[in-house]
Each structure stands twice: as structure tokens, then as C-alpha cells.
Subunit: 417 residues, 3 copies
């Protein structure tokens, strides 16, 4: 039996504890009943046992076999029902008859079971024995995980992933796993220009609660952020833009995909989805997008028992983490430079930056990259802009800028430090 995660409960604590072995996660408990904006942290939900037996004592469905069998946040129930009475509490998918759906009822008290439509169809007239030993504790709390990796500045990059979906692989296990891997890599970096904030939250209520405490600060400091989800399957990358549409998060992600991937999808922001809904609500409008592989809602196994381990791969997750790190590397190196010799070209030759035999072809492309940087570094273009306009790979521009800076031909603009 997998760990049962939901908005609250022991499963979430256990999950964060396991991930703490990769990343140094600070765990915080927020008491049930805490108000955050228009919402309230719900009671803590824990489940000891949940199953249905037929009149002969055969177990029909059991939470032990698959967390998804129990409707999320089901209240305690012990009783006997005939088939018709029972059916009012059973949920299945007619058009995917072999899969168990993932359903929840966080804010209205009820109980229920989810099962395959095939199984539902085969249930016979009988008296069924339902036993749900669950607990909704108003004295409990909601658990969230947080890593802060300090950088040279207080400006921040955010990664946000969620931990409330029990036993699904692409959505959601891939998110926390990839995030933790990125977190580890970032923590090993010697110099970080930006401070990194990495969050493990129950979806929606977790993000809302977090923003009610930290939203104002993030509005001031956050330069780019990503919601990490659906990132473990073998599909091509999908980037969903932030509401701003042209934020640093968007520009870096789109540039890296353009310059490194053959097939990918760029989607404009839309207000359904995951926690970018909260980060990009109009009162915050943070620069938060989401790099995914096959996006939620775009694969038929989404929110069913079909989204299991066979749907994702470690190789895909590793490449996903690398792509995120590539994007963040661009952000780290994306300065606006000021050409110190703006009137005509500086003489590159006398600084050993130009072949001394004129008219020889520039095979490495580095001279071309330097010319672009010098020409566009008037204070209004950063390296991403220059890469967009020149089609010179940003990695070459970063190298060329380094050389030009060393020779004193450009300096970093005061505003972009």
C-alpha cells in the first residue's frame, strides 16, 4: 500500500520525511481552522481502514489495495446497505471502465468509494457491509515543506510542487521527486545569484495558506517561479506561461526549449490547472509558469489509477530536472550589460578577441556573439533579449559576455545586479 497523501494527515508528514533524505526540508504545521484569505485549513484527515464486504464476508474494495478506492476526506461510516443504497456512494468512470477514478470531497462531509466501472457493473443485489474508520480532527494540522537556499541577493526564484494526491505517478509523484533532485543540485552550487525558495504544499489550500503569509514578500522579491508537476512521463515538454506572459520565468523557459528541444508545446496562461492559479491570481500576478511534460488533462490516465509507475520513468525525471536546471542557469547568467565603448566598435583585435588576419571566417561563432552583445548592450536588452533577436545560443552569449566583461568592454548594468 502506497502512502496515503491528502490535504492533511500522516501520509503527508511521512512523504516529506522521505524527501528530506534528498533535500533539507523544513517542515511546518499549520493548525486546522486557520483562516487564509477566503479559505480555512480543514480538519486533519487520517484513515485506519476502509473497505466494503459482501454478505458472505468477501472484501469487495479495500483502501489497503489502492488509496484511490476511498473518496478523499471520507468521514467515518460503519453500516450495512443494499446495493441501491450503496451505489449512491460509489464512483466510477463509464468511458474508462477498467480504471479507478481519483475523487475528493474536502469541503462537504460525505463518504464514498471509487472503483472501476467493470467492478461496479458486476456487483450483485446483496447487503453490503461498509467500514470506514477515518478521523477528521479539528485539533490537527496541515503539513507543508519548505527549503530556502540563500543567494547573493534577496531576489528569488521559486519552485512549487504538491503533495496531496495519493498514489498517482505523473500527477503527482514526479513533482516532488524532480523538485527534490533540483533542490539537491542547487544546494551544491557554490555561488547562487538568486535565493531559491522550494515549496512542498498540498494543492490549492496549501498555496493559498502559504501566500497569505508570504505573498506580499514574494510580490516584491520573486523574479521567476515554476510549478513542478506532470514532469515524469516520456512525453515532450510543455511550458505553460505565467499570467504576465512575458515574465523572466517565461522568457527563460521558452528560450531554452527553443534552443534545445525539437518538439515542445508553449501554452498561454489559463486560470485552471495547479497552484499557478493562486500565484497568478490578479492580486499577486507573480511571474510563475509551469514546465511539464504531458500536461494534466492531456493524457487519458490523468486522475485515475492508470497514472501509475509504469507511466513515468527515472530517466525522464532526470532529464526533466536537467531542463529545469538549464533554465535556472540562464536566469542566473542573464544580465543586462552596458557597452563601455558605445560609439563605433571597440577594437577587438588588439585585445586578442578578433582574428588578426581579417576576413577569416568565425567558426566558433564567438566573435559574432560578441558583436551582438556590444551592439545591443545599451541598457535595454538582457542576454535573453539578445539571444532572441540574434538567434545566437544563449550559452555562447554567456561565454562571450564573460570574455567581454573581463576585457572591460562591457559592465553589468546597475539595475540588473
Amino acid at each position: 500500500m502506497g502512502i496515503n497523501r491528502s490535504l492533511t494527515g500522516e501520509g503527508n508528514r511521512e512523504t516529506l520525511k522521505i524527501l528530506s533524505e534528498i533535500a533539507d526540508i523544513k517542515i511546518t504545521e499549520i493548525p486546522s481552522g486557520t483562516d487564509c484569505f477566503d479559505w480555512t485549513v480543514p480538519d486533519e484527515w487520517n484513515v485506519k481502514e476502509a473497505r466494503i464486504k459482501d454478505s458472505r464476508g468477501n472484501v469487495i474494495v479495500d483502501f489497503k489495495n489502492n488509496n484511490l478506492h476511498l473518496l478523499g476526506y471520507s468521514e467515518k461510516f460503519i453500516g450495512k446497505l443494499n446495493l441501491n443504497e450503496l451505489k449512491e456512494h460509489l464512483h466510477s468512470l463509464q468511458d474508462q471502465p477498467d480504471l479507478i477514478p481519483y475523487l475528493t470531497s474536502y469541503y462537504k462531509k460525505r463518504w464514498g468509494f471509487c472503483l472501476s466501472h467493470d467492478q461496479l457493473q458486476n456487483l450483485k443485489e446483496d447487503v453490503y457491509d461498509v467500514h470506514i474508520d477515518s478521523d477528521l480532527n479539528p485539533q490537527g494540522s496541515m503539513t507543508i515543506g519548505e527549503v530556502i537556499l540563500k543567494g547573493d541577493t534577496e531576489d528569488e526564484i521559486l519552485l512549487s510542487t504538491y503533495i496531496c494526491h495519493p498514489s498517482m505517478a505523473n500527477n503527482e509523484l514526479s513533482g516532488p521527486v524532480v523538485t527534490s533532485f533540483i533542490c539537491k543540485k542547487l544546494s551544491e552550487k557554490k555561488n547562487r545569484r538568486y535565493t531559491y525558495r522550494i515549496l512542498y504544499l498540498p494543492e490549492t489550500i496549501g498555496a493559498i495558506c502559504y501566500l497569505s503569509k508570504n505573498g506580499k514578500y514574494l510580490k516584491e522579491k520573486l523574479k521567476a517561479g515554476y510549478v513542478v508537476t506532470c514532469i515524469g512521463d516520456k512525453g515532450n515538454f510543455t511550458y505553460k506561461k505565467s499570467r504576465q506572459g512575458n515574465s523572466l520565468a517565461d522568457r527563460a523557459a521558452v528560450l531554452v526549449l527553443n534552443q534545445s528541444e525539437e518538439h515542445f508545446t508553449i501554452e498561454d496562461f489559463f486560470p485552471t490547472g495547479s497552484d499557478e492559479r493562486q500565484y497568478c491570481s490578479p492580486g499577486f500576478n507573480l511571474p510563475v509558469g509551469s514546465l511539464m511534460r504531458t500536461r494534466y488533462g492531456k493524457y487519458k490516465e490523468y486522475h485515475t489509477s492508470g497514472d501509475n509507475k509504469s507511466f513515468i520513468s527515472f530517466e525522464a525525471m532526470e532529464k526533466s530536472a536537467e531542463k529545469y536546471l538549464e533554465i535556472m542557469n540562464v536566469i542566473e547568467n542573464n544580465y543586462t550589460y552596458i557597452n563601455q565603448y558605445p560609439e563605433c566598435e571597440p577594437q577587438l583585435g588588439k585585445r586578442d578577441l578578433y582574428p588578426t588576419i581579417g576576413s577569416k571566417r568565425d567558426t566558433s561563432g564567438i566573435v559574432n556573439a560578441m558583436m551582438w552583445i556590444l551592439n545591443l548592450s545599451d541598457g535595454s536588452n538582457d542576454l535573453i533579449d539578445i539571444s532572441d533577436r540574434s538567434n545566437v545560443p544563449v550559452s555562447v552569449l554567456i561565454k562571450a559576455a564573460e570574455e567581454l566583461k573581463e576585457k572591460g568592454l562591457i559592465r553589468i548594468s546597475a539595475e540588473s545586479i
Copy 2:
């Protein structure tokens, strides 16, 4: 014989009287000789009789058979001419030899007849007897019709059509007919947000004269307007944008065509055409476009006797009026809303706006529509903007906005009342 309409004369009065049976039209007379900007209202023109006979007394062409036979604004003439002399006063279309052209000479005194090129070719050497009993009266007047339907605000929507083309169907009879039908429907509405101004004018001089009196006021109050012409044939819709190009008139018309029609044409503004030439002159630059079916100049029967009743249909005119009403309904309901819970999402579930079982699919699309409205209602987007960006049909957005407003989640922005 059809009613003979021109810039002035009894035919125009008669036409407006007939249309008054559908809409409550206020008729105004503007005296000949009145100056309006660079123009002067011409003498009133009336025709008793106009015909040509050959030497045997056979009637060759007669105004009684078709108004178009007489060159518009022909002066009185009685006399005998040989064929060559007569030909200097005859007009025909070489490339459409069976049609009578529509021609006028408003501002230079002359007389003439229009006839088919076939007939012209068959005229023999003879002495012809020409008899034009017309009157150009400097004591006359130009007749215009006007309907004002008061709304909750002084902000206005304009419909303008013209009544000076004798005996042509698509251009022009369809215009006044469709306009009158729209006018009737609007007058029956209980609540009108906007005040509607509906004009029946002789083309060009009528609009110029009207603007010389009301242009300043319209510049302040007019929010959207349309010139109604060429709207009765079976062709697909054509929308010609206002000079502004992105006025409320344009945005509403383009949105409705996009969301309801499969085939249609959007044309940028050009300064030839009908009365949008005056409304969109640079000194006024009013938000006035024109929804047509097959546009003037785009069908070969245009401005000939071929533009007759068989070219239009009542069914087409009815659908045209409905399309106009659909556009005006969008304008009436197009508010800029302000999300009252801008920080993160408000909790829709507790207000019965969200399914209480999470992850269930939103089949009606209404939840999706609400999410879009909440996300974009920061004061910079009206419902048309939101529909453009989300691809959610504006009718669904209007319904969703109504529900959100009722629940206190959004309010109408002060500027958009």
C-alpha cells in the same frame, strides 16, 4: 413604379412615412440652402414625368417604368434632338449590356437618361422627343428621419442607414428595412443600458448635415455605431471596421462573427464607401463600422437595375437584424468587472458555484468561465477581452458574470457603468 428617392423630395417623405409603421420615426426637414461644413443642402428635386419618344410617338424610355432611367437630379428639359445630340445625354454600361446603371448629377446641373447598352445600341437615326418635367426648388428641403430610444445612461449606440437610392434592393432598401426591424426590437426591450440613436439619412449630404449639428455631442457620447447597408442578400457577413480599428463597435462585431459564423470577412477601414466616411473623418473619428452581407462594389449588380428584389430575401434580412441584435446584446452586457477577492481564488465551493466532489469534469463550462472572469477582472479587461483571450463564448461569460456578481465575488468597475 417604385418610390423615387433621392437626396431630397416627396419620395423620401413617403418612404419614411411607410417605415414609421414599424418604428416611431421623427421626421425633420432641413431647408435647401442650409450650409453644413463645406457643403450646402441642395434644392429639392421632384419629378412628375420623364420620357423619350421617337418620331412615331413610341415611348423609348420612361421614368414610370424604372426610376433609374432618369439621371438623378436631372433638370427640366423639353425638346427634340437627333440621335447624336441625344446620345450626349444617354448613359449605359458597355460591359453589362442588359442592365440600367444608377447615376446622379447632384451638384452640376444637367439632364440625362440611363438605359441598357443593348437598347442604346438599337436606337436608330431619328428625331427624338424628350420630356422631363422635373423641379429643382430652392424653397424646398431635405428630409431626415431619427429615432432616439433612451437608455439608463447618456452613452449612445448609433445605427445609420440611407434613403436616397431609388429602386435598388440590397443597396439600399435592405438598409432601412433591417434598421426598422432592429429599432422595433430595441424599443420593446425593458431595460436599455445605452441610448440608441437610429438615423435615416440621404447618403453623404444627410450625414454631413446631421454631423454639423450633432457631431460634437456624438464625439462625447457615442460608444459604438454601425452603418446599415447591403444587408439583404444571401451572401456571408462582411464587417468593415471603424477607422479606430479597435473600437467597441469593432470588438463586439468581430467577436460575435468569430463565435457564431463559419464564413465571414473582416475588412479594415477604408475611406470610400458609405456614411462611415463622414463618421470616421479625422475630425470626428467616431467608433462607427458597418456590418454588411455582400459589400458594395463586390457584386456585379451593384448600382444597376440588377440590384432588385430577386437579389435579396426576407429571411436574409431577418437573420441580419438578429446578428445586429446579437452584437448589441454583447455591447449591453460588456462590463469591466473587479474581482473582490483578488488574492488567490475565492472559495467557489462554499457558495455553491463549484462541484463539491473535486476533480469532476466541468461539463457546462461555467466553472471555467468563472475562473477566467475572476483571474482577469483586475480592472483592465472587459468581457470582450476575456472572451478573446479565453475562447470562452461571450454568452457563457455573461451568464457566469451574472452569477459571480450575485454572490458578491465581482462588482462592476466604476468606469464601465
Copy 3:
């Protein structure tokens, strides 16, 4: 033997003297050692003789046969070398084995020869006798040519071409030839609205030196400019935009190509190329583009002995000059007009600008052109804007504007005089 041109030297003086027969060029000498921004004018280079003989006295390569044989700016050298030693000073093109490359070493002292790869391959073990009788004179100077054609205003149009490439035809001989032809035509014009500045410079150092003296003035006065190069071959036109991207230079050139050529290429600015690199450096950012035929780098003969007279034609050069003159004619006539009758249309008929019989078709297009000018002349559109928006050929608009101005319907905006 062709004239040997380089950054400096007698060949450049001789070239300008020959071109002075077409255009009245003022010649200026700038002493070697003069500092200009980050650069210094080099020593004057002259060559008396340069050849290699084998041990039997056979001449292997000789500067007399082709200027390109000598590496540009080679220093004096007299000596004997074996094949391996010699090869360190020989340059060829492996992938174009029958052509002599064009190479220079302006800023690092060395000597060398360029020859076809075929010839290089056939050189045998031997002792070679090298004789380069060249002179690098620090007391010399760099020669530049300049023509100023005064106009009614101090606002300027610039043509800049270069004179430092020895014995190549499209790049570069076509440039000075076409420029001189344009210069002659412009000097014969009676009225010039703009002042024309026409420059013959050694590439890069010449432009840098010129800008160090005149850049500030040009920044204030220059309205449009073009670098004239690669303009003699039979290829279609290529226009490389200025860094501004939408300068008057760009708008006029793109419009003329759009309205007169079927096949052509528009390229966005890039910071490699010719002297637009200096004119468009960020400190100046002048409105300087370049109208070419087949662009440098786009034909395989570029910078080799294959770019010879058979690659260009006088007919092509003549048409190139005409195209430049066509563009400059548009610039001369491109005014922003102000409609003097902005409220509704002025009555064109009473000014003999409109057919007196209404509804007749406008065959010349001149009435349509007038309507466009009247409608858009609100002070925010010049004739190029109007031509872009209306698709009316700019030549027709120029004629229509002339008529409207004569009748007092429009006047030239104060800002565009």
C-alpha cells in the same frame, strides 16, 4: 594590373581621382597615428613589388598579376625559404581550390601571399626566393572622399561606400561606381529638400574616423542613410534594415521594394557586415540601412578572385542606382499633411477633383488616393504610412497630395518641413 586599394595608399588616391570625373569629390587626408575612439589610423601602406620565385628563377606568384596575391598590409621581406617555411606565409581556400582568397593583416605586422589551393598543392620542395618591397609609413595618411550637396534644409541623407578592397567587383567596385552615378543625378536636381552627404571611405577605420569627427552632428541631422555595397551583380535586391528597424531609411526602402519589385529580401539588422556596424553602433544608432543585390557572405565568390568583372554588369548597376534614386525620391516627397477640412469630407466636386456624375468608377485611382490622404492626414501619418495602410502606390499619393495642397485642402505639417 588593377589599382591596389587598401586602408591607405596611393591606390586609394588614384581611385578617388578617377571617380571625381563623375562626382565632385572633396579629398581629405587623415595622418597616420590619428586617434579615433578606440582606434588609430594605421601607417600608410604602399607596394612596389611582391613576388615569389623558385630556385630556377620562375615567378610563382606575382602581385602584378593580381593584387589579391599579396596579404593586405604585408610588411617588407626579402629572403629565401624552403617549402615548409614558405607555407607558413601562404593562404588558400581548400574548398574553392581554383580561387585566390582576399585576406589582410592590418593591425598585426606580418607578411604573406594568397594563392589558389591548386597552385599551393603543386608547389615542390625547393628554396624559394621571396621579395616584398612594401612600405609602412608612419608619416603617411589615410585618404577619404566626401561630397556635400546642399538642400533646402540641414536635415541630411547619407550614402556611404568603401574603397579599400583591391580588385574585387561586386564587393567592392560596384559600390563606388553606383554611388558616383547617384551623386551625379542628385547634383543635377534643381530643388533638394534634404542635404546629401556622400562618403567614400576605407571600411571600418574610415567610418570610425569619420564618425569621431562628424558623428555628433549626424546624430542630430541624419534622417536616412544607406551603405552602398554588393550592388552590381544580377541578383534580386536585398535590403538590410538599420538597427532602429523602422527608421525613415527602412520605411522608404521597404515600401519602394514592395511596390516595385516582385522578388526581394528584407533582412533585420545584424551587427556584422559593413560600415552600418559603425553607423548603427549603440552610441550613434543612426538610421542607416543598406540596399544591396546579393549580400556579402551570400555568394560563394565573395572575398575571392572569383568576385571579378564577369560577376557584375553595367545594366545591373544602372538599375541599382535608379532604385536608390526612387527611394530617395520617396523620402524627398514624404510629408505629413494636415487636412484643413477634418470634419466630414470637403466637397471635392466643386473643386473639380471629383467626377460630377456620381457613382462613376474612379479609373485613375486618384480620387481614392485623395480620400485616403484626407482621411489619414490628422498629423500622425506621413505619405509612407498612408501608402502602407491603403496599398495605394506612393507615386499616386504624391501626385494626389500635390493637387490637394494646391486646392488648399491640406497643408504640410509644421513638424515635417
